[in-house]
């Protein structure tokens, strides 16, 4: 494993960013965490476009994607990444406040890798983030010939 690929956190709510970063920190993962605040920035980062046109090449280890986002919402980000021939292998975990069934169904239709309803209890939240982080950032090997 050369350099650890970063975790991309797509989240508009500052409190959620706080809490998620705190949770990630407690997992002792060495991966960098990139935070973007809306769907457009997320797509730009993943596709290396716009403000992220000049970023270091290479996909994120995992995308933690909030469902409700300004400009372009999480489902659309998911759909576009999963429809992209080159980037569709990037693992995407949907984080959401809602257990609304239709969101779950559509996320799986678009090919989400995990779907997590953020628990109100911080301990449970922390456990989810830890499990996700470990699974996707550490255990899950990137596909060979990645970019």
């Amino acid at each position: 494993m050369a350099t650890l690929r970063p975790i991309l956190l797509v989240e508009d709510n500052p409190a959620d960013i706080d809490l998620t970063l705190a949770a990630l920190k407690k997992t002792n993962l060495a991966n960098a965490v990139i935070v973007v605040r809306d769907g457009v920035e997320a797509l730009d980062y993943i596709f290396r476009e716009g403000v992220f046109a000049d970023r270091e090449p290479g996909p994120p280890a995992v995308v933690l994607l909030d469902l409700k986002l300004p400009k372009v919402d999480g489902l659309e980000v998911l759909e576009r990444v999963k429809a992209h021939p080159k980037y569709r292998t990037i693992p995407i975990v949907m984080l959401t406040s809602s257990r609304e069934e239709s969101d779950v169904v559509r996320s799986y239709e678009f090919g989400v890798n995990s779907f997590v309803v953020k628990p109100v209890d911080f301990k449970a939240f922390f456990e989810s983030i830890r499990d996700l982080g470990v699974f996707w950032a550490v255990i899950n090997e990137p596909l060979p010939g990645g970019f």
Partner: protein, 746 residues
């Protein structure tokens, strides 16, 4: 019955009737002997044909007139020849004058026919009042009858008038119904002949061709039924080689069948005056005499005029009566529709106002058929028969109106219901479904009112053709028939259909609008609960998260501060739980049920296992009886049972020994399950509050919960079409039971 080759009486009668219909009554080739007839060629008035008695009636000079113009003949007076020639050139349809020809005074009448000019001679009767005396009589008649609104009364007056004018023993007014059956509606007599008032006669008493002659030639006289017909010579008209057409001839010899009928009735002389309304033979003024009786053509003309007068008056009265009836029915319709507008449903509105519903078309029974359901009022066939009738009508694709007074003739099954439904009027109220409003009428035999015993009136008469035989035939003919539907009644049914369809459509529109509103509010509710679940849940999550992080960052916090932090976490967690429960509750109202057969014993065992895990610290004695399967959405039914069992576990917490029993029984329409515990129970006074959202009977520090569990359970059960109930006593435990309807296997 006379001997007949036909095997059955009915067949014999059919043969006889067919023979009647074929009789050449327009061209009998003979006249009655009380006058003479000649046919003149146009324009030279040459005699083409003459009755064989011409010489006997008019005088010896008249013998051998054939082939010569009348002007050359000695018997033809100059006046007669001149007047007849003048009339020929003019527009008058009928020539009627008195002339002295030879030694005798004659009443001469003439009319045009395709074959020439038919001239008839009858010896004048000097007892006849002069035409001038007839005029005041007619005027008086008009004055006396003008104000009579009723056709029956009018008929009675005209019978009286004709009897007075002609001196016949009996004068009847005979009216045809739609099927040409006749009823004697008025009668005047001197008692010599029996009365026929109210008697009814079948259509075949007067065959179609005879009715057509009655319509064209409005007056006929038979001075005696015992006459020798006088042939026309030559038999065939030189103009076209055909027998002489005597449709309009007063002297035309009548059918032997008719003469037999007269003899059987005991009448020697008869005269009839047609009442033609709207070009249709409405009825007859029928005059009978026990002895031979001559009526002078002048007097007959007066009677004919009277007949026309009466026809016009009848026409006006019938139109007025029809209009009046139409107005009355419209009023009934208006009242009914007003009521329907307020009724919960169109169908129930009809049943509530049954008398109006029947009154719309003067029916004895009615039914409304929608969605395979029939509601009835009054006398009707059984519901299943009505539904089959509706299907039958539906197959016939009725557009506006179906009306019959003999249902069994068209719908064979109807023969079983003639007692209530010989007559049917139906209007469709849906283009797609077999939905109808129907009205019924019973067989007419049951509805006829007699002016006395009809059999007694004709007891002295014998023979094949007489009124008593006719009455028997008539009852045969009207079997299975109802009183016919009047025009006003048919129109009323059609009008009501329009109102009903409007009404049904309006209701459907209202329902569609309501559905749309509901859907909109449902969408709003969905959006609302969606944003609640996201936006309201997030801050609680953040509060709990920050409180937790703070506690971790500051391990040295004072005890009381740590307590406060816990309070913050706890409050945020319960608020979050509340949001989750509320969302779940609202989703339950919207999600589709996925019904399948459920093994409840398995479900109960699962529920028990998961609850045992949660309450490891205390032993629970479970008693799960044999549970029948049920039908429902498996995850929801599991949730319902879980909630009840969880409650039982919760509220037995403080008992030294916990017993929970789950039982189930199969009933005819549903399956009933019960969860029984020996917990703290509840006061039945609060039983109704138990199932309401946020209603709690205990303090939160005693028993945790959001107050949604039982409301959710009730919602699950009710969405399945079942019911739920609770029984309990304070300190003695509670029993919650719910039923789920049985369903056919999917």
């Amino acid at each position: 019955m006379t001997a007949s080759p036909a095997s059955t009486p009915a067949a014999a009668q059919a043969d006889f009737l067919a023979a009647c219909e074929r009789e050449p009554i327009r061209i009998p080739g003979a006249i009655q002997p009380h006058g003479a007839l000649i046919l003149l060629a146009r324009p030279d008035l040459r005699v083409l044909q003459a009755s064989a008695n011409f010489g006997v009636v008019v005088g010896p000079d008249a013998e051998g007139s054939c082939g010569r113009p009348i002007a050359e003949l000695r018997w033809g007076s100059d006046t007669f020849c001149r007047e007849l020639a003048q009339w020929c050139e003019g527009p008058e349809p009928l020539y009627l004058r008195s002339h002295r020809l030879g030694q005798q005074a004659f009443t001469v009448s003439a009319h045009r026919s395709p074959q020439g000019i038919v001239v008839e001679f009858e010896p004048a009767d000097d007892r006849v009042p002069p035409p001038a005396a007839l005029y005041p009589m007619l005027r008086r008649f008009l004055e006396r009858t003008e104000r009579l609104a009723d056709v029956g009364e009018l008929s009675d007056r005209v019978a009286e008038q004709v009897a007075g004018l002609t001196g016949f023993n009996r004068v009847m007014v005979y009216r045809f119904d739609e099927d040409w059956n006749g009823t004697v509606i008025a009668e005047r007599g001197d008692g010599v002949l029996p009365t026929y008032l109210d008697l009814r006669f079948p259509a075949f008493d007067i065959p179609a061709q005879a009715r057509e002659l009655y319509r064209l030639n409005r007056l006929r006289l038979i001075p005696t039924a015992d006459y020798q017909p006088v042939p026309i010579v030559p038999a065939h008209c030189p103009v076209d080689g055909a027998p002489l057409d005597m449709s309009f001839a007063a002297l035309r010899s009548v059918s032997p069948v008719h003469l037999e009928y007269m003899r059987n009735m005991g009448t020697v002389a008869s005269m009839s005056i047609s009442i033609v309304v709207d070009d249709r033979l409405w009825g007859l003024i029928s005059c009978h005499h026990a002895a031979e009786r001559h009526i002078d053509p002048q007097l007959r003309a007066a009677c004919d005029f009277l007949g026309r007068l009466v026809a016009q008056q009848i026409d006006a009265r019938e139109r007025a009566a029809e209009d009046k009836e139409r107005l009355r029915l419209k009023q009934v319709e208006t009242e009914l529709v007003t009521h329907l507008a307020r009724a919960p449903t169109f169908q129930s509105g009809l049943v509530e106002r049954a008398s109006h519903w029947l009154g719309l078309v003067n029916a004895d029974g009615a039914a409304v058929i929608t969605d395979g359901i029939a509601l009835t009022a009054g006398s009707t066939p059984p519901i299943d028969a009505i539904l089959r009738l509706a299907e039958w009508m539906h197959e016939r694709r009725l557009d506006q109106l179906y009306a019959t007074d003999c249902l069994s003739a068209q719908w064979t099954e109807g023969a079983a219901f003639t007692d209530v439904a010989s007559g049917v009027v139906a209007v469709p109220i849906s283009r797609i479904h077999a939905s109808f409003i129907m009205w019924f009428r019973p067989e007419i035999i049951r509805t006829v009112t007699w002016g006395g015993d009809p059999a007694a009136k004709v007891s002295a008469e014998t023979g094949r053709l007489h009124p008593r035989a006719s009455f028997a035939s008539w009852t045969e003919q009207v079997r299975g028939r109802s009183r016919p539907w009047r025009e006003a009644e048919r129109l009323s049914a059609v009008d009501f259909r329009t109102a009903a369809v409007d009404f049904v459509l309006k209701r459907a529109e209202e329902r569609a609008q309501l559905t749309e509103e509901l859907q909109r509010s449902n969408r709003e509710l969905e959006a609302f609960s969606y944003s609640i679940s996201h936006d309201l849940r997030a801050p609680f999550r953040h509060i709990a998260g920050y409180a937790e992080l703070l506690a971790e960052e500051e391990p040295e916090l004072k005890h009381i501060s740590r307590h406060y932090l816990k309070g913050i976490s706890h409050a945020a967690l319960s608020a979050g739980q509340l949001v989750d429960d509320l969302l779940h509750f609202s989703q339950l109202g919207r999600a589709d049920l996925r019904i399948s057969r459920i093994d409840m014993r398995k479900v109960a065992d699962e529920v028990r296992r998961s609850l045992d895990l949660e309450s490891q610290e205390r032993p629970i004695s479970w008693d799960i009886g044999p549970l029948p399967d049920c039908w429902g959405d498996p995850s929801l039914v599991r949730q319902a049972l879980f909630n009840l069992a969880e409650n039982a576990v919760k509220y037995t917490r403080k008992q030294p020994e916990t017993r929970i029993r789950i039982t189930g029984i199969e009933r005819s329409a549903d399956v009933l399950y019960a969860v029984e515990d020996n917990g703290i129970g509840f006061d039945m006074a609060y039983a109704s509050k138990l199932f309401q959202v946020f209603q709690r009977l205990h303090r939160p520090e005693d028993y945790e919960g959001t107050g949604i569990g039982l409301a959710l359970t009730r919602r699950i059960v009710e969405r399945h079409g079942g019911t739920i109930e609770a029984r309990g006593t304070v300190g003695q435990g509670a029993t919650f039971s719910f039923s789920l309807p049985r369903r056919p296997e999917a």
